[in-house]
């Protein structure tokens, strides 16, 4: 029964890529998205009201102001990233302006001396802050507030007494004018200097030891201390840097305007703080970057100069900045706190999946329940954990993976004793021997690995070509699942999903999107290419008996398909079993020229219906905890044998689920069938009635030894 609402949801979920929201939110650069949006919005908003906001002369004038502000903001950012705050930057800026003017106009010192001395004054004020806060461990806020008052008072006294003397511009100097009003390739000098310092600061913060120490101290003082970082000295340096940069800005201001008044540098600390926080530099420390500071400074400049152009009085201007700062702080706190919560909520994005109606399994069905697997012999009971796949070699030794990241070898013929054959580190899933006896293993979370007969573990590949339009980085392998090897030595393997880790594989069932793919690794050229993208949890892979195609199972859509490697339909896909009653897992060859397939679980009607109602699954994910979610029924499973036309020949059940509630793989070897389960703690061995007692997979693939 198809309902009108289902027609809507089918197209709604096919056309709108819900999953991208979560993938974008998971990116690191998303932190910069909000400030960037604010910048774009404010630029758009003000250019609507002010016609010539971006006229050349306006830009150039703004450029000089930006340069000065940027220097101060960079200093503030560095301090904040170490977990502090510097309120004295405005006063330092003002004092530096006054001193530069005094030295240049009144004492007529050389320009170089003027600059160096001004910077030294700034560094000294910073060193005072740094000493008090870093070494004496005073509170950053109060201490810099006091410094602000003290430096400001000094500046005010000086201005009151000597304002006229220092502002009398009697002296001419090209160098001085160049600093204040010159251009380099049409760009204001102060902006060029700020940009250069920005690049240096970025390199320092992200690539040098001091930068890492600053971030470590800001992230967690105690951990940084325990890691052996000199917290006090690091904090000290940040204030020295901040003071020096504020003084540098003062020099530019002095050379640009040639005057200092009582309002010089007033409110600069608010502008700088607003810029830093608005850009996304966290007040708590540890989070921030020069790029963020740049974004924030641009926003503040655009808003400030636009407001002036619109004729707002300077008091109102500060009020707007204050409101902006409040908003930025609120966003900062809320965003930091809730980002991962939001991500967790929006990441799972169920799609629409309608499985074919096949009715219920009854007494006449090919899949009818029997308890033929009741008489399995158990191997490694409570000794292995998570044997997803099993395989046997020519000497009847049995290999399986374990959850602990080992490949375990049980010694033939009785499989009572075992050893760790190779330690890989991730949970080994599918396994296959190649022509030379190398054991190739898909390892969850790691990629495709190989264990040589000399027991050397080698990585074959862990990345493939990145697809053009994926938001998530799909070049790395997240969930290599099962593999098989073609006669030409190429290894075809499935990656079940690129959106979830192995332990979250059932969440992929709730999504039921084309999150998986089949990848081909060519050992001859050591290249890896994705051959079939956008499959729904591709799982088992088996090269057909004639070696001309591969059969692969897609778990959530309950189907088995064939991918042609050669012949007239090379590169094409044909359905083999389009409507299974259960969820197919591994596929392997049987001795009589057919194939075995394990069902990891069975289709439950309530889940099938939920697959057709993505909004319901979304709500479920939102509202109830993980353990309570509706899953496919994976407490029951069976093994089927099918032929190349897709006809079911046999069906084997452990109907009570005593030993094998969930079967993920089976392997035929010398008349027996060996059963594995990715969540089980045993391997089953079952005698196949009438099977060829000499048939082995090794001989069938690679010929008799």
């Amino acid at each position: 029964m198809s309902q009108p609402s289902e027609f809507y949801s089918r197209w709604r979920y096919r056309l709108f890529p819900d999953h991208l929201v979560g993938e974008v939110l998971a990116k690191n650069w998303i932190d910069n998205a909000i400030p960037f949006l604010i910048l774009v919005t404010s630029v758009g908003f003000f250019s609507f009201f002010i016609e010539d906001l971006f006229a050349p002369y306006s830009l150039s004038d703004n450029g000089r102001q930006i340069g000065e502000l940027l220097l101060v903001v960079f200093g503030m950012t560095i301090v904040m990233m170490a977990g502090g705050i510097d309120l004295s930057v405005g006063a330092t800026f003002a004092l530096s302006t006054f001193c530069s003017l005094a030295m240049f106009n009144y004492f007529e010192l050389p320009v170089a001396v003027v600059i160096v001395t001004a910077l030294l004054i700034g560094a000294l004020i910073g060193a005072l802050n740094g000493f008090l806060i870093g070494f004496l461990r005073l509170r950053a806020f109060l201490t810099t507030l006091v410094t602000l008052i003290m430096v400001r008072a000094t500046f005010d006294t000086l201005v009151l007494n000597y304002q006229v003397e220092v502002s009398m511009a009697m002296r001419l100097s090209d160098a001085w004018d160049f600093i204040g009003n010159g251009d380099l390739f049409g760009v204001p000098v102060s902006f060029v200097v700020a940009a250069t310092i920005g690049v240096l600061a970025h390199v320092m913060l992200t690539r040098l030891g001091i930068g890492w120490r600053i971030q470590a101290v800001g992230g967690s003082r105690r951990s940084a201390f325990n890691a052996g970082i000199s917290v006090r000295r690091t904090v000290f340096y940040t204030y020295v840097l901040s003071g020096t940069l504020a003084a540098a800005a003062g020099v530019f201001y002095a050379s640009r305007l040639g005057a200092a008044g009582s309002d010089t540098g007033i409110g600069l600390e608010v502008s700088a703080l607003t810029a830093a926080v608005l850009g996304g530099v966290s007040l708590g420390g540890g989070r921030g970057s020069i790029a963020k500071a740049l974004l924030g400074a641009l926003i503040v400049i655009v808003i400030q100069s636009s407001l002036i152009r619109l004729g707002l009085r300077s008091g109102a201007n500060t009020l707007v900045l204050g409101l902006l700062l409040l908003l930025a702080v609120a966003i900062d706190v809320k965003w930091l706190k809730n980002r991962f919560k939001v991500l967790a909520k929006v990441y799972v994005s169920p799609g629409y999946l309608r499985l074919p109606e096949i009715g219920r399994i009854d007494a006449t069905s090919d899949y009818r329940d029997n308890n033929r697997l009741a008489d399995v012999t158990l191997i490694g009971l409570e000794e292995v954990e998570g044997p997803e796949d099993v395989i046997l070699d020519n000497d009847d030794n049995l290999y399986c993976g374990s959850r602990h990241g080992d490949v375990i070898r049980f010694f033939g013929p009785d499989h009572k004793r075992w050893e760790v054959y190779g330690h890989i580190g991730g949970h080994p899933l599918g396994m296959a021997f190649d022509r030379n006896g190398n054991l190739n293993v898909c390892v969850s979370g790691m990629g495709l690995y190989q264990i040589t007969p000399q027991r050397e573990v080698r990585k074959l590949t862990d990345e493939t070509n990145r697809s053009l339009l994926s938001v998530i980085d799909d070049s790395r392998m997240r969930f290599a699942d099962d593999l098989d090897i073609a006669p030409d030595g190429k290894i075809y393997f499935s990656e079940a999903t690129i959106r979830f880790n192995t332990d979250e594989w059932m969440i992929d069932a709730l999504e039921s999107r084309g999150n998986g793919r089949i990848i081909c690794y060519d050992p001859a050229s050591d290249t890896t290419r994705t051959v079939l993208p956008k499959l729904m949890f591709p799982n088992g892979i088996c090269v057909a008996h004639d070696g001309k195609s591969i059969l692969y199972a897609e778990t959530w859509p309950c189907k088995i398909s064939r991918f042609w490697l050669e012949g007239p339909r090379k590169g094409k896909v044909d359905p083999v079993m389009p409507a299974l009653p259960g969820y197919p897992d591994n596929i392997n060859r049987s001795s009589d020229g057919h194939y075995w397939c394990a069902f990891v679980g069975m289709r439950a009607p309530a889940f099938d219906l939920a697959q057709r109602m993505p909004a319901f699954r979304k709500k479920m994910v939102d509202r109830i905890p993980h353990d309570e979610w509706l899953y496919p029924n994976m407490n029951a499973g069976c093994v089927i044998k099918f032929d190349e036309t897709g006809k079911v020949l046999e069906c084997l059940w452990d109907s009570k689920g005593v030993n094998h509630p969930m079967i993920t793989s089976m392997r035929e070897h010398k008349g027996y069938l060996y059963l594995g389960g990715s969540l089980n703690n045993r391997i089953g061995k079952w005698k196949i009635p009438g099977a060829d007692p000499t048939w082995t997979g090794m001989a069938d693939y690679w010929g008799a030894k």
Binding site: M1, L609, R623, D627, E628, W629, N633, N635, M662
Partner: protein, 361 residues
């Protein structure tokens, strides 16, 4: 207006009325495995409605009423034309409720009396019976909309159309004591004209009396309460026949999914509580119930559960007996107190067993 806004916001955030929570099993309800360890008496398919009649114990199974003496094997007492939905005894008299909407009296002064649902006596779904005195029978009608076997329908549609009736057996006139109850599955006559009723879907016990609003005395149970039995020391035993799960609560609040599920899928495969441990791979599975290392974890959110809670005379829980997700004695709707033992029928576990109270109750 403000209420509507809050309602909309709650719906958006999943708060308030829209919060999907289930009380934890804690305090006196802390889980144990006592039901699974209790002494088995005999296995029988789907036993239910167990009741003590003198020294004998009677119970129902499908259309049959059976009886056994302690230590003896069960023997057929009566066979009815429809499923037996409730039993009650008073001295020699026994009342039997049938799914067809009838209540039959056997033995005692009103032997042979037959009550049939009518407009004046809405007992189409008699799911609990109790004698108030020799001449007055209390009948709980589970729902006006659904029959006794359609309890899942009533739960998922959040039905609250049940009622409790007091019938004078001398004349046959019925008097309604309370209406709009959510599946009253258990009854005990208290002193005076008060009646203790278990409201399964609201997970609470209420005391009803004619002409007064029902008074909740024990609320927020983590499972659906069924039969109540008075214990010797003026306390009570209440049998909770199925667990509340958040997924079920979610489905009740999602009419789009619920209605299609109820229309398209067989009831035993619905997302709903069940009396039996999982039997078919067509039943829905919740994440925590996935078998790991070939076992179900006891804390798993299973569809079925076994739980008997002992209550003090003031209805506060004293202690509890559990059969958890990995146990089998699930779906216990009724128990009988014989001396210092409880005899209980596990409908889902197909077994009748006796629980020793050990005298320290």
């Amino acid at each position: 207006m403000l209420g509507r806004l809050k309602d909309w916001y709650d719906g958006f955030r999943g708060a308030g009325e829209y919060a999907i929570t289930v009380p934890p099993m804690d305090g006196a309800l802390r889980p144990n495995t006592e039901l699974d360890q209790a002494e088995p008496l005999f296995e029988w398919p789907a036993p239910d409605n167990i009741v003590a009649v003198g020294a004998q114990v009677r119970f129902s199974s499908g259309c049959d009423v059976l009886g056994f003496s302690p230590g003896g094997a069960p023997g057929l007492v009566a066979h009815h034309s429809a499923d037996v939905t409730a039993l009650a005894a008073y001295g020699e008299a026994m009342a039997t409720g049938l799914a067809s909407g009838e209540v039959l009296i056997a033995g005692g002064p009103h032997d042979g009396k037959r009550l049939v649902a009518s407009a004046a006596l809405a007992i189409t779904c008699p799911v609990a019976l109790a004698f108030q005195d020799a001449d007055t029978l209390l009948i709980a009608n589970g729902s006006d909309r659904h029959g006794a076997s359609e309890w899942r329908h009533d739960l998922l549609t959040r039905g609250a159309t049940g009622s409790v009736w007091a019938v004078d057996l001398r004349g046959g006139a019925g008097r309604c004591l309370a209406r709009n109850l959510a599946w009253p599955r258990g009854l005990v006559a208290l002193g005076g004209d008060r009646v203790l009723v278990s409201e399964a879907w609201r997970s609470q016990l209420v005391v009803v009396r004619p002409g007064a609003a029902s008074d909740p005395v024990l609320t927020d149970l983590p499972a659906y309460p069924g039969g109540i039995t008075a214990s010797g020391d003026s306390g009570y035993f209440v049998c909770l026949f199925a667990p509340r799960r958040r997924l079920t609560e979610l489905v009740m609040r999602e009419p789009a999914y619920r209605d299609r599920m109820m229309a398209e899928i067989e009831p035993e495969y619905w997302i709903s509580p069940s009396l039996r441990p999982m039997q078919s791979y067509y039943e829905p599975l919740q994440g925590g119930t996935l078998k790991k290392l070939a076992m179900i974890k006891p804390w798993a959110p299973s569809r079925s559960y076994g739980l008997i809670v002992q209550l003090a005379p003031d209805f506060g829980p004293l202690r509890s007996f559990h059969s958890r997700a990995d146990g089998t004695r699930h779906g216990i709707s009724s128990c009988a107190v014989i001396g210092d033992r409880i005899v209980a029928a596990s409908t889902g576990g197909d077994i009748v067993f006796a629980l020793d109270l050990g005298g320290n109750g």
